[in-house]
């Protein structure tokens, strides 16, 4: 109990409140800019958190992520250009409302639905993460090794059309994560005699290069030469009923919001699915169960509520696998995991024992971030709408310059800027050739823990691989991993024999 109170008191300290507030505000702003999403913003701002305490750093990044999820809805509603992939479904009903001059009402619905989904999801996280983590503590190195193996194969499907290419990317990420000092011998491994690589590749330049810089390179192909940003017209009507959302209008969608939040929580808790899946699934369910199916896609508030409540509910729920098992379920959480590691903590069930005060502080920050989102969104809506109009000619130089200085900031070393550029180019080609940079990054982050578990298994079992047969959970997880890999092989072989090609 003392830990809970101490953690919550930490969360309401002025510094913590200030950084959570800043995180949410910046998150909404960057989320509103088409092309900049939550994980990208986290990658850009992680270097700053080097200089913060663990709680303020995590609070800031969590706020940033929450803000970016709602911010994505702004450009989605105003321009039909989703700021984030998960906001795509929001545009289907949000943009028609903007065309009718009810953009502000649509944005208010998106905001309150986001906050509702976010609160429910955070509540579930707080209620179940600690008890589940207590159960997860019974897992030994074989189970952890098997679990990470499974996570890597499942996550390989994110961000690519081919699991085969996803596995290649994950393997490449593992390889990149091995660069540095080998843990058992304490000798350099795969450093190619470059002394700066002795400590391994830092997450910050790798993440900035893969997530932000490569994305900007791709976007610049479309935007080079475009002088001005997009113009959001007809957003703010002078009619009160077109601008404001009445309580009656909001509560008419209560069922949709609860259903959307439940879908978001379920999807978020499962690694590998992500917010866009939750958003589309919730929209689909809302439409199927609505008495006014024909109005969906033409400006129905229910559609916005379904999409936004689901995608925001993913944010809190996606922390469940991280806190319980130490497995990041999506890219944003992988970046948060990186932030934990930068501050010397290994996310997982032990955190509730070793850093209980911090964990309850994070819980407090999560709730406060939801409150701030409601307040900042309510009073800053018009200001954030201006973000979509930032001209490309100003935006992209700022982002590129921030990428460079952010990469430098981590270790105050220009070598890391070179690493960032290298991974920017690698990320550019990975995106072009449809190799999952998400799987790469998660493989990169998970490999130290995976190798440590492997070493422990080998040492405990005295090089006896049959150890897995004595551990039913580990065996089950390994069987599942082999099944996923085998299925990938089979579907590829079948596709090669004319299965997929013949369908063309």
């Amino acid at each position: 109990m003392e830990m809970i109170i101490a953690g919550l008191l930490d969360a309401i300290s002025p510094a913590s409140l200030m950084y959570v507030f800043m995180g949410v505000a910046i998150g909404v702003m960057v989320g509103a800019i088409p092309g900049i999403n939550g994980p990208m913003a986290i990658a850009l701002f992680i270097p700053i958190t080097y200089y913060l305490t663990p709680l303020t750093a995590i609070g800031f990044l969590v706020g940033l992520n929450k803000g970016a999820f709602f911010g994505g809805a702004i450009s989605s509603v105003l321009l039909r250009t989703p700021g984030t992939p998960e906001a795509a479904a929001t545009s289907w009903d949000g943009y028609p409302l903007t065309q009718q001059g009810k953009g502000e009402k649509a944005l208010r619905m998106a905001l309150y639905s986001s906050v509702a989904g976010d609160f429910m999801s955070t509540g579930v996280l707080i209620a179940i993460a600690a008890p589940l983590a207590a159960v997860a503590l019974f897992m030994g190195p074989p189970e952890i090794f098997a679990l990470i193996s499974l996570a890597l194969t499942v996550i390989a499907g994110i961000g690519t059309n081919s699991i085969c290419r996803g596995l290649i990317a994950a393997a490449l990420g593992l390889l990149a994560g091995l660069i540095g000092t080998e843990p058992v011998t304490a000798l350099p491994r795969l450093t190619f005699d470059i002394y700066q690589l002795g400590g391994g590749l830092s997450l910050i330049p790798v993440a900035i290069g893969l997530l932000a810089f490569s994305e900007i390179l791709i976007q610049l192909e479309r935007f080079t030469g475009k002088g001005s940003g997009e113009h959001a017209a007809n957003v703010f009507s002078t009619k009160r009923e077109d601008r404001l959302l009445s309580l009656k209008e909001f509560f008419a969608n209560t069922r949709t919001l609860i259903r959307g939040s439940a879908i978001g929580i379920g999807v978020g808790a499962m690694p590998g699915l992500g917010a866009p899946v939750a958003s589309f699934m919730s929209y689909d369910q809302a439409m199927k169960r609505s008495k006014h199916k024909e109005e969906f896609g033409k400006g129905r508030l229910e559609g916005i509520g379904a999409s936004e409540s689901a995608n925001s509910a993913v944010v809190g729920a996606s922390l469940i696998p991280l806190f319980v098992l130490g497995i990041p379920g999506n890219l944003a959480v992988a970046m948060l995991m990186g932030a934990f590691m930068i501050h010397g903590m290994q996310p997982g069930p032990l955190m509730f024992q070793e850093n209980a005060q911090l964990m309850y502080g994070i819980y407090g920050s999560l709730v406060i971030a939801s409150l701030f989102l409601a307040i900042i969104g309510r009073f800053g809506l018009r200001l954030f709408c201006k973000a979509v109009e930032i001209p490309a000619m100003l935006l992209y130089p700022i982002v590129i310059f921030t990428c460079i200085m952010g990469a430098y900031l981590g270790r105050s070393d220009m070598f890391d800027v070179g690493v960032m550029l290298t991974f920017g180019v690698i990320g550019y080609f990975m995106r072009k050739f449809d190799f999952s940079y998400v799987a790469f990054l998660i493989g990169f982050i998970l490999v130290p823990e995976w190798e440590r578990a492997l070493q422990q298994v080998v040492i405990i079992s005295e090089n006896n691989p049959t150890m897995f047969f004595e551990r039913p959970v580990a065996m089950g997880l390994m069987a599942l991993t082999l099944f996923v890999i085998g299925k990938t092989f089979w579907s590829n072989v079948r596709g090669g024999r004319g299965g997929r090609a013949a369908k063309a």
Binding site: L394, F401, L421, L454, G496, A501, A504
Partner: protein, 170 residues
């Protein structure tokens, strides 16, 4: 270039990279087995093995599709019309000129900052970057570059207490 050709090249490069790692890089740059635990080269070898197996599998699949004379179906996010006419998509096109246009100034920034210092190099870098993006208003470009360099300097120096890179100008 068709998608089959592009994927074939990508997979061949991966197989080539795997062979390079297995035959030279991993044996040369991995510590010897200490006599207990797993070999330091184990995870690296497994990773390369997975990469090569998957790339090999994709190559077999592509070869079978090639012999069958079938085009690969367009994938999610690609433009089907474009894929049907050229077998290649807009999403997948690599624009090396564009890549060079933005990477070369960044590389020059790294080099220049070591010799000239942060302020002049970053200022010139931002001017070049804006020009490359398409801005031609020199007044606005200069103003923006000065503000961005100054703001970043203040944040780094006084916000985080981190020395700006290169020889100190101030």
């Amino acid at each position: 270039m068709t998608r089959i050709q592009r994927e074939t090249i990508a997979n061949l490069l991966i197989v080539g990279f795997g062979l390079f790692m297995l035959t030279w890089a991993i044996p040369t740059y991995t510590p010897p087995y200490p006599g207990y635990g797993a070999s330091p080269a184990l995870v690296a070898n497994v990773s390369i093995g997975v990469m090569m197996a998957m790339a090999g599998l994709s190559l077999v699949r592509l070869l079978l599709a090639l012999f069958a004379g079938k085009a690969l179906p367009p994938q999610e996010g690609e433009f089907p019309d474009d894929a049907q006419s050229t077998g290649f998509t807009q999403v997948g096109r690599v624009n090396l000129y564009h890549l060079a246009l933005f990477i070369i100034p960044c590389v020059l920034l790294i080099v220049g900052i070591e010799y000239l210092g942060y302020v002049p190099t970053a200022f010139l870098f931002l001017l070049v970057l804006q020009y490359a993006i398409g801005n031609r208003n020199w007044f606005k470009m200069t103003l923006f570059a000065i503000i961005a360099v100054a703001v970043m300097y203040v944040i780094m120096r006084y916000g985080f207490g981190v020395p700006v890179p290169g020889p100190q100008l101030f």
